[in-house]
């Protein structure tokens, strides 16, 4: 393939120009999962599995632990973002009676890549606490509950920290931002930062802080979901840190008997690798595991391309690319890859769109109104890449 037809950098201005000129509002094939997802384009089988498993959490109040696992780029993070988004809450809206639908709140924690032992667990803990706390600050109803919640707690540094937090008033600043309580001693205590009140002694203290924050949420919501992404990092962490993580999860699960969903996301090729990171005490408490598989069926691939253009690009796919072209392209991809991840499909689509765009430019036939990746254009593309 000549160099001029090399694929474009998806972050370059030229690529943005292509998207605009093609009438696409967003990049339909993002190479990194978008942070806010309001559509499901990935594997429908997986979506049905998720629905099936999560239905339990609607019918029964007890807390659950789920595991999402699969190879790189198969849509695990995308699914997590979808479940955390507004659509996730209404996942069952059309299918279930209103009486069964419950108010849900989800947070997604993505731990930072640990440089030293101990950092992974700290980043997971801080992520959970900060997200839950920030939601309380954003929500007037929850904030009101927080103000009185500490009174029922037994005497402990945690009670003191909640008291410190409740003393502070939520302020709205001139620039529109609201108080984050970062400097509050109570907040520093619960996020395990250096403070005047002391230190969280052990995992049980950490579990207690999370328990109390979730308890405040459960006064308003029926279910709180905590999604922890990139947990494969646990396999690289010290054994002691893995023990701690397992102890924290076990403690949280036992203490919060109802209303909690914990979802772990692992990028591993086999489930046995997941098992190496978890202790039997946690493994035995896992309710269900969902495998995210590669795309093997042509119909799935066609449906994925169609959905992406329609839902993310926000245009009718057939005004942009001919139906037959999608079919041919999908067939070609599966012939080459046999099975393919969503990330690879996105990358291949980037390459495909870029090359088609350049061919059109070269032919000087570029006109937004009539531009379409037609059968003819595909034939030229096919010749070039061969």
């Amino acid at each position: 393939m000549s160099e001029k037809y090399m694929n474009l950098d998806p972050y370059s201005k030229e690529y943005e120009e292509i998207l605009t000129s093609l009438g696409l509002k967003n990049d339909p094939f993002p190479t990194v999962p978008p942070s806010e997802v309001n559509y499901w384009a990935d594997n429908k089988t997986v979506l049905n599995q998720i629905k099936e498993k999560l239905l339990d959490s609607l019918l029964f109040a007890s807390s659950n632990i789920y595991i999402f696992w699969g190879r790189i780029g198969v849509g695990k993070t995308f699914a997590a973002n979808y479940l955390c988004g507004s659509q996730g809450i209404n996942l069952f809206a059309k299918e279930l009676p209103d009486s069964l639908l419950k108010k849900q709140f989800s947070i997604k924690v993505r731990p930072s890549i640990p440089r030293k032992s101990g950092e992974l667990l700290t980043s997971i803990y801080k992520g959970i606490v900060t997200d839950l706390f920030n939601n309380i600050l954003k929500d007037k109803e929850l904030y009101k509950i927080l103000k009185t919640y500490y009174k029922n707690l037994p005497d402990s540094p945690i009670k003191k920290s909640f008291y410190e937090i409740s003393k502070e008033t939520r302020k709205k600043h001139l620039d529109g931002s609201e108080s984050t309580f970062i400097e509050n001693e109570g907040f520093k205590y619960i996020t395990d930062e250096k403070n005047k009140m002391g230190k969280l002694r052990d995992i049980n203290d950490m579990g207690d802080v999370i328990y109390n924050l979730i308890a405040i949420h459960l006064e308003k919501y029926d279910r709180v979901s905590i999604i922890i992404d990139e947990l494969e990092n646990l396999s690289r962490s010290a054994i002691a840190e893995r023990y701690q993580f397992n102890d924290l999860i076990k403690y949280m699960y036992e203490k919060i008997e109802i209303g909690l969903n914990i979802i772990f996301i692992y990028t591993f090729e086999t489930y046995s690798e997941v098992e190496t990171t978890l202790q039997p005490a946690v493994l035995s408490r896992i309710k269900d595991k969902i495998e995210f598989d590669l795309v093997k069926d042509e119909s799935d691939l066609i449906e994925y391309i169609y959905d992406c253009i329609q839902k993310r690009g926000e245009i009718n796919p057939y005004t942009f690319i001919e139906k037959e072209v999608i079919q041919k392209f999908s067939k070609k991809l599966l012939d080459n890859f046999k099975q393919i991840s969503f990330r690879e499909i996105n990358r291949e689509m980037h390459k495909f769109i870029s090359i088609c765009y350049r061919i059109r430019i070269e032919q000087r036939e570029f006109d937004i109104k009539i531009l379409k990746i037609s059968n003819d254009l595909y034939s030229i593309y096919d010749k070039i890449i061969q």
Binding site: G118, D202, I203, A238, I239
Partner: protein, 250 residues
Amino acid sequence: MICIQYMIKLYNSEKTMRKQLMIPDENFFIILNNSECDIKLLDYLENDMGHIIIPEIFSENIKKSIKSNISTQLFRLWEINLKRYCENYYKIINEISIEKEVSYTNTCQSIFENTDLIYRITKQFSNSFSKNDAFLYGISYYLRNNTDYEPIIISDDSHHNLYGHFLSAYFGFNLIQLSLYEILKFYDFDATIINKYSRYKGIGDFVKYNITSTLKRNQYEPEMIKLFQSCLLPIHPKIKTKEDYDKLIK
């Protein structure tokens, strides 16, 4: 370095026959912590060369020594590791007691007897050799005599590495003696070990390892050369008997 490679090979090839065990002294953990080395090193060590065991008294001393130097989050990890190593120790003592059909106290008593005996010998060589130091060799010697375990002592103390090593070479207290320096070097861990060593009086340890050094050279050079000539790797397949001790003490 060759020693460690050899030990790993031995451990992997004969896992089913004699099992290796690591018995580090208190200073090993304290220096490891001071060297700002990631505690993952201990996991690697356990994975490659066998379980780490320490008696509870060591664990408490280590905790006291390191607590002020590290962050709470790291200290929590240290606590878990130390607890695990103590559990390993008691598990082994329990195993032996069940196998030999004696009480737990009886097994501990036998280890203390060994320790006393070893302490009587080592005291003649160095006054800095404490009973706690001798305890390591007591455990190690007992395990070698009564179980399938092959203990490896890890220490950076000069008296351990000099006198302990000599006596081990003669009596077969332990399979081999390693220092933190060798382990760090083997795993290529980034640790500012030399600078941290300067905090301790034991900076002389490095000098003592060097055979060309003039420091107390006449005291140990002939023995050292003999040791190196007899076997390049200080592995002690034959375990000496109690009578040998008595001869030496006499």
